[in-house]
Symmetry: C2
Subunit: 491 residues, 2 copies
C-alpha cells in the first residue's frame, strides 16, 4: 500500500506538492508558473463550477464573456487598480512571428508592433466598465448582474499548483447598481453565496469578514472575504467580494439617469473565486494516504472493485456489482465499476485511496457466497461487511454522513486552532508554536498592521462579521480597539 | 413593429451585423477584433456547450486544461504548423508595467523582458503534445481522449462578430492513440458527433467530407469537416476534425512501448468547433424580423405576455399564465412570464420576435373570458387561438414541430441551392448568378484548385463522403477526375 507520499508531519508543503501530482490533479507545464489541470483535477473543478454557476443563476446572475486583452490605457484609468496589478502583468506587444532572414528560426516580426500594448487580463473591471458605459443610460438598465468564467494571468514570481499560478481559472462577477445600498447588499450576498458553497459542497468551514484597508482589492472601498484554515495552521482566503463604490464608474464615465432624470455615477461590485479553491479542498481534508474528497464534489462517489481468481468468480462478482450499481445510480449516486484485468485489487485500492473516492466496495467470492459486500470509507479508513440487500440504502446514507463528518472534523480542527490572545508576546508565542487563527485587539491603523506583519509574518485575515465585537486595547500599542480581529499566517 | 433591421435582400452582410447587435448577442469591444458576448448570446452558447460536452463525455472524452501561453520554441517544432499560424499570433514579450520616470504614465518595464517570447495559443497542439510526452510511456497509457474548453487568439485582420474574431471561444479535442486506424476512427467519429449536434440541435444541415490538401489544418494528414450553406448562398465551415498522423508525436518525441515492448510514435487527432457556430445558427434561420432560434437551443422556448388595462385583468391573466407555466415546466419546457409593467405588449412582441423566442403566448381579457390563449410561432409568424386546457400539449408538440420545420426548410434551401455543373463556364455562371454549393469534377491538383480560387473566389469546401463518386473529367483541365467535389464561396 506504499504511496511514497511524504507525511504531513514530516513536510506539509512537500506532502501537498506530491499529492497534487500523484493524485493526477495537476502538474507544472513547460510555461513558467502555468499549470496543466489534468482530467481528474478538472473533473472536480467542473463539479465546483456547476454548483457555483447554479447558485449564481439562482441569485439572478447571467453569464457573459469579455475580451482577454485590456488596452494599457484602460488599465491605467483607475489609479489604485493599476498600482495593484502593474507589477505582475503579461504584456502583448506584437501580433506576428516570421522566419528570420538571418536563419535564426522563428522570430517576432518587428514590423508587427502594436500601437498600444495589450495586457492579458489579471481581472476584468476595466474592460467591463468600459463596456457598461455603452449598456447603461437610465435606471431601467440597472441592475446589471453579470458573471464571467475565464482564465486570468498574474505574473507571480513564486508559484504553487492551484494555490498561486501565473494563469488560473476563475469566475468574476461584475454588477452595476443604482444605489450604494443595493451594491453593498450584492457584495454581501455574494460573500454568503460563497460561504454556502464552500461549507456545504467543499465541507470547508469559513469565517466571513471584512478585509482591513491594506488588504483590500485594488480599487475597492470594502472587501468582504471568507477565510479557511488549513491543516498546517495557515489561513487561506477562499473567496472575495468587493464593494467598489463609484470608482470604476468615475474612471470610465458610467452615469445613469434616475427616475427624476438626475444623472449620477453607477455603483459597482465585483467578486470571484478561482482554482485556488482546489488547493483549499485538498489541504483541508486529505491525509497521509492521499486525497480525501467530500461526496458532493467527488467525480466518482463510489467505486466497486471485484476480487476474483477466475472468470467464473468475476462473473459472479459482476452480477452483484451491476445490480448494486443500478440501484445506486437510481439514487443519483456516481458509481464506477473497475473490472480492469490489467491491475490487481490491491493496486486499485491504493489508487482510489490516493484519489480520495469517498466509498470503495469490494466484492469477493466469499461475499458472493455470503450475500455481503465490503464497504470501506475513505474519510475514516474503516471497513464494514454489509448485506448486499442493505448496501444501497447504507451507501446512500454514507454519502451524507461522510459529507458531514468532513465538515465537522474541519470545524473541530479550526476551533482547536483558534486562540484568543491579549498580549503581543502571547500572540508571537501562539503564532510560533501553535499557528492557526489568532483573535486579538488591534488599534485599526495600517502602521500597526504593517509592524505585526513585518515582525511575525502574520496578517489580518479579516474583521469577522458574526463575532462578538467588544472593545478593548490593541495588543501592540495599547491604543483603543473597537473589536478583536483575526490574524494568521496565510497562503 | 419596426425593428429598423436592414432586410436580407437589401444587404445580407449589414442585416447580419445589425441583427447580432440588436438581438443583444454580441458587440465589438474597445480591443481590436475582440468581441463582447452579451448575456443573451452567451446563454445560447452555453446551451451549445452543454450538449456538445455531454456528447464528448458519452464518447469517452474527459476535459482538462492546458496553458494559455505557448513558448515560441514549442510553436516552431512542427514546421507546417508554425507556417500556418505564425502570421497571426499575439506575442507576450514582457511581464511588468511601471510608472514612467519621465511622467509618461504607465509604460512597459524594459527590465521585465521575457527571455523567450510566449505566444497566446491560436490552438494547443504544441503545448499539449509537449505534455503528452510525460503522460505516455506504454500502450497502457493509450488512448488519451482529452478535450479543452478555452479561448484562443488568431490575429485576423478583417473581423466580424462570431464569424471571425481575434479572440474566440472554442473546444479543442486532442487525442493520442496506439494505431493509425484507431486515430482515423476517432477523427471520423468526431466529425459525426459534430454533424449530429449541428443538425439535431442547431437544425442546420451539413455535408460531411474531407478537405483538399491545400485546405487542411496546418500539421494534419487529413482534415474531416462539416459544411453548411447560409441564406446568402455562401458556405460556412462548421467544424473540423483532423487526423494528425505522427507529426506532433515526432515533433515532441512522444513514443510508446507496445505489448511487445517495441517503441513507436503515437498517433494523434485534434478537433474543434467554436463560437463561429453562433454565426451559422444566426445566418441559417433568421429572417427580416430578427433572430429565429431552434427550440433545442433557445434560452427561453416560450414567453407569455399578459395583455391588460387594469390590475384586475392582469391578475386574471396571471392566474392563467401561472397555471400554464407550471404545466409547461413539468414537461421540461423553458418558459418565461413577462409581466413587466415598464413595457407595453407591442414592445414585448417586437422584442421577443427580434430575439427569436420560438413560441409567444398572449393572454388578454377576451382570452380569459373564452378560456383561450393566443399562440404565435416565431418560425412561421402564424398565430392560433387554442383552448387553455389544450395549450401545454399543443406547445409541447410545437417544440418538436418547429425544430423539425427549421431543419427541413434549411435542407430544402440547400437542395435548391446545390447545382451540379459539367463545364467551367457553367460553374462561373452559376457561382455568379445563383451561388450556393456547386458540385463539379476537379483533377485533384492544387494548381487547378488555386486557379479556380483566384479566378472565381470559390474554394473546394469538401470532398463529400456520402456522395456518389463516379469518375469524370475536370471541368477546368479536362484531365481525369476520380469524383465530383463541392465548391462554394465561403465565410
Amino acid at each position: 500500500m506504499a504511496k511514497n507520499l511524504t507525511s504531513r508531519s514530516e513536510d506539509y508543503s512537500k506532502w501537498y506538492n506530491e499529492l497534487v501530482i500523484k493524485a493526477d490533479l495537476a502538474e507544472n507545464s513547460g510555461v513558467r508558473g502555468c499549470m496543466v489541470i489534468k482530467p481528474y483535477g478538472f473533473a472536480i473543478w467542473e463539479k465546483m463550477q456547476a454548483e457555483l454557476d447554479r447558485m449564481f443563476k439562482e441569485t439572478g446572475h447571467q453569464n457573459a464573456y469579455f475580451p482577454l486583452f485590456i488596452p494599457k490605457s484602460y488599465f491605467s484609468k483607475e489609479a489604485s487598480h493599476v498600482d495593484g496589478f502593474a507589477k505582475e502583468c503579461a504584456v502583448v506587444t506584437h501580433y506576428r512571428l516570421k522566419n528570420d532572414e538571418n536563419g535564426n528560426g522563428i522570430v517576432v516580426d518587428p514590423d508587427a508592433k502594436l500601437e498600444e500594448e495589450l495586457i492579458v487580463r489579471p481581472t476584468s473591471e476595466t474592460i467591463i466598465w468600459d463596456t457598461y458605459r455603452k449598456w447603461i443610460q437610465s435606471y431601467r438598465d440597472l441592475p446589471i448582474l453579470v458573471n464571467q468564467w475565464a482564465n486570468v494571468v498574474r505574473w507571480e514570481m513564486r508559484t504553487r499548483l492551484f494555490l498561486r499560478t501565473a494563469e488560473f481559472l476563475w469566475q468574476e462577477g461584475h454588477t452595476a447598481h443604482a444605489t450604494e445600498a443595493e451594491a453593498i447588499a450584492e457584495a454581501e450576498q455574494m460573500m454568503h453565496v460563497y460561504a454556502d458553497f464552500v461549507e456545504n459542497y467543499m465541507a470547508v468551514p469559513v469565517i466571513k469578514g471584512l478585509k482591513s484597508e491594506s488588504e483590500r482589492f485594488a480599487g475597492a472601498l470594502e472587501t468582504y472575504c471568507i477565510e479557511a484554515l488549513m491543516q498546517d495552521g495557515k489561513a487561506l482566503q477562499a473567496g472575495t467580494s468587493h464593494f467598489l463604490g463609484q470608482n470604476f464608474a468615475k474612471a470610465f464615465d458610467v452615469k445613469f439617469a434616475d427616475k427624476e432624470g438626475k444623472l449620477d455615477y453607477v455603483w459597482a461590485t465585483s467578486w470571484g473565486v478561482s482554482t485556488r479553491l482546489m488547493g483549499a479542498l485538498i489541504m483541508t481534508h486529505s491525509d497521509d494516504n492521499g486525497l480525501v474528497l467530500p461526496p458532493n464534489l467527488a467525480p466518482d462517489q463510489v467505486v466497486i472493485v471485484p476480487i476474483y481468481r477466475n472468470e467464473e468468480q468475476l462473473a459472479a462478482a459482476s452480477e452483484v456489482a451491476n445490480k448494486l450499481m443500478a440501484e445506486l445510480r437510481s439514487k443519483g449516486i456516481r458509481v464506477k465499476f473497475d473490472n480492469r484485468d490489467t491491475h490487481k485489487p490491491g493496486w486499485k485500492f491504493n489508487e482510489y485511496e490516493l484519489k480520495g473516492v469517498p466509498v470503495r466496495i469490494a466484492i469477493g467470492p466469499k461475499d458472493v457466497e455470503n450475500g455481503t459486500v465490503e464497504i470501506a470509507r475513505r474519510d475514516t479508513l474503516s471497513k464494514e461487511l454489509i448485506a448486499v440487500e442493505d448496501a444501497s440504502a447504507y451507501i446512500s446514507n454514507l454519502m451524507d454522513e461522510i459529507q458531514k463528518n468532513l465538515y465537522t472534523k474541519a470545524v473541530s480542527f479550526r476551533e482547536e486552532n483558534t486562540t484568543t490572545v491579549s498580549s503581543y508576546d502571547e500572540f508571537k508565542e501562539v503564532l510560533e508554536e501553535k499557528g492557526g487563527f489568532i483573535s486579538a485587539h488591534w488599534d485599526g491603523t495600517s502602521e500597526t498592521e504593517e509592524r505585526i506583519k513585518k515582525e511575525t509574518k502574520a496578517t489580518i485575515r479579516c474583521i469577522p462579521l458574526d463575532d462578538d465585537n467588544a472593545p478593548g486595547v490593541c495588543m501592540v500599542t495599547g491604543k483603543p480597539s473597537a473589536r478583536k480581529v483575526l490574524f494568521a499566517k496565510a497562503y
